[in-house]
Assembly symmetry: C2
Homo-oligomer: 337 residues x 2
């Protein structure tokens, strides 16, 4: 059996993830039992939630244990098979995988990735994967956009945010994105059709939002928390909705406080709902039925930022928090067959 490189969690990071928090080790892949396949990882997804899994804070899955392989979303190809339904060469999603070259999965767990003409594999790791479903269900199920409403999305040039904004535009909403830097803001308005963009690094978010959304905010798709969240909540309308998808600005800190003006949530009868995409996995087909045609017809634009080499995963993860990536952040662990 081939050698398997694995990123193992050595200690819980404090603040930013550092080189001593994880270690790249080598093991042998185990022998297969009947019904199992050996999957060679093609792409590893890097997501803000990885930082949460490394911590022992209250979270939606058990924290990764010290000494365990780091958990991650992956897509791979079956390289050896003892499962008739998954012959060698099948492209599969083994559910939650790990930061490693190989993973063994049973045929009941690994899900075949459909081939869509003209759609690259990386789409299944982004717009047609957990990222796209996060955007779809958070916006549709919690946000419930109505034509003419104003939607604000933070981390708008990010993998989730960029899909949220485009879906909201397709629903007939006015969409304002909040992102870091003029280049990202230009991408939102020039390429994705957002009605406005706010550069939180150089602009006064509250003042710009008041200018761009003079009728207030009906949906705040919240990805960042902290001061940006406060600025948006301060302009949320009566009966507005706030899908709480993430608070990336707080993931390297000890605290993640709620909106400083919580009285507004009461006075304006605002709905806030935390959600995690795994809750919606039973409804994945519903999202894919809507998203796949939009992707195939290029009505929905998306980008992947692919870093080569499993050995670079840890360094690459830092980009999530600096914003120094252009599209869904992926690691190419091995070449596509």
């Amino acid at each position: 059996m081939p050698i398997n490189r694995q990123w193992v969690l050595r200690r819980r990071p404090e603040g930013e993830v550092g080189p001593d928090d994880l270690e790249l080790v080598e093991t042998l892949t185990p022998e297969l039992n009947d019904g199992e396949v050996l999957i060679r990882t093609l792409y590893l997804s890097l997501d803000p939630t990885n930082r949460i899994w490394m911590s022992d804070q209250v979270q939606y899955l058990p924290p990764v244990k010290i000494g365990d392989v780091m958990r991650g979303g992956v897509i791979g190809v079956v390289e050896r098979s003892r499962a008739a339904s998954l012959p060698e060469g099948t492209i599969v999603n083994p559910g939650l995988g790990g930061w490693q070259d190989y993973i063994v999965a049973s045929e009941g767990v690994a899900r075949r990735v459909p081939h869509l003409s003209g759609v690259p594999l990386t789409a299944h790791m982004s717009v047609l994967g957990a990222t796209g479903m996060t955007a779809y269900f958070g916006l549709m199920d919690i946000g419930r956009p109505q034509p003419g409403e104003t939607v604000v999305v933070s981390a708008a040039a990010g993998a989730v945010g960029s899909i949220v904004g485009q879906l909201a535009k397709l629903k007939g909403c006015r969409v304002i994105g909040i992102a870091g830097g003029p280049q990202k803001c230009r991408w939102l308005t020039h390429d994705l059709g957002f009605d406005g963009a706010i550069d939180y690094k150089s602009q006064d978010v509250a003042a710009e939002l008041a200018r761009l959304a003079p009728n207030g905010v009906d949906i705040n798709f919240e990805n960042v928390g902290g001061k940006v969240m406060d600025a948006v909540v301060g302009q949320m309308n009566t009966f507005s909705r706030m899908p709480l998808c993430g608070m990336i600005s707080t993931y390297n800190s000890e605290t993640a406080p709620g909106p400083s003006d919580f009285g507004r949530v009461l006075m304006h009868r605002i709905l806030i709902k935390g959600f995690i995409v795994i809750d919606y996995l039973p409804r994945a087909a519903e999202a894919l039925a809507e998203l796949a045609p939009l992707v195939a017809s290029h009505q929905l634009k998306w980008k992947a930022h692919v870093v080569d080499g499993l050995e670079n995963a840890l360094d690459a993860m830092g980009r999530l928090f600096t914003g120094d990536h252009d599209g869904k952040l992926l690691v190419r662990v091995s070449p596509e067959p």
Copy 2:
């Protein structure tokens, strides 16, 4: 026409409401036009939300203007009538009234108060009025209690909280109340059938809650905000719900921050929804159909704390914030006919 005493807002209170913030003045009641009635106020409702109306913070109704009569919920008797549908002697609710002896209302606005055998008029100012509807809709519509779930209610011995807890018990829930002082706590567990009560003035709320609700909290009916809210949110379960009804601990302060651990709202996919009872007025009949039989059969217990005399309204209001009242706080403005 009779002389009308009115409490007029003179300035916006800072912190606790003081004697210079409102003034009791005398005017003459106006002549009636066709279709109008002169209503003599019987009972005036004192509610935490009155404090909000006195401020100019963001709120759900326009703030009471400086120089205007203070707004308040009232019930009264038609003393003079130029409306055939509302003869003299009819008991009516004129919608939102004021802190005054008399109010003129048109027959389209004043709603006849039904006579229920064995149910005193004060019930219509509490358990069968806005108070009861607040409890009913917040719990049922947002909380959606299921048998066996754990419900926590703060300000549990208050007018709303005591109804919330009893309704949750009727739905088969385990109910823990948070109240101030051993006497109130005893009332909750001995008289109202709560499964447990926590005295926030003398006990560690988080520690007691962990003891009384070992399976965590499924519904937090939030009335107080601040530290008590934080203690409860810290023990809310995955997919739990938080009807946000009030934040009385913050009404005399400048700030009303959200939960300090907002990350938990995300990780546990908690639903938070602010609400105001006036949003549910179109569905009032639904609540009354459920509540009236429970009141008439004494399955639902309630208390009114009646202070005599309009001139004592301002002093009485302070009791809302100290907790120094025993049941729904009302002012008897004039005797029942």
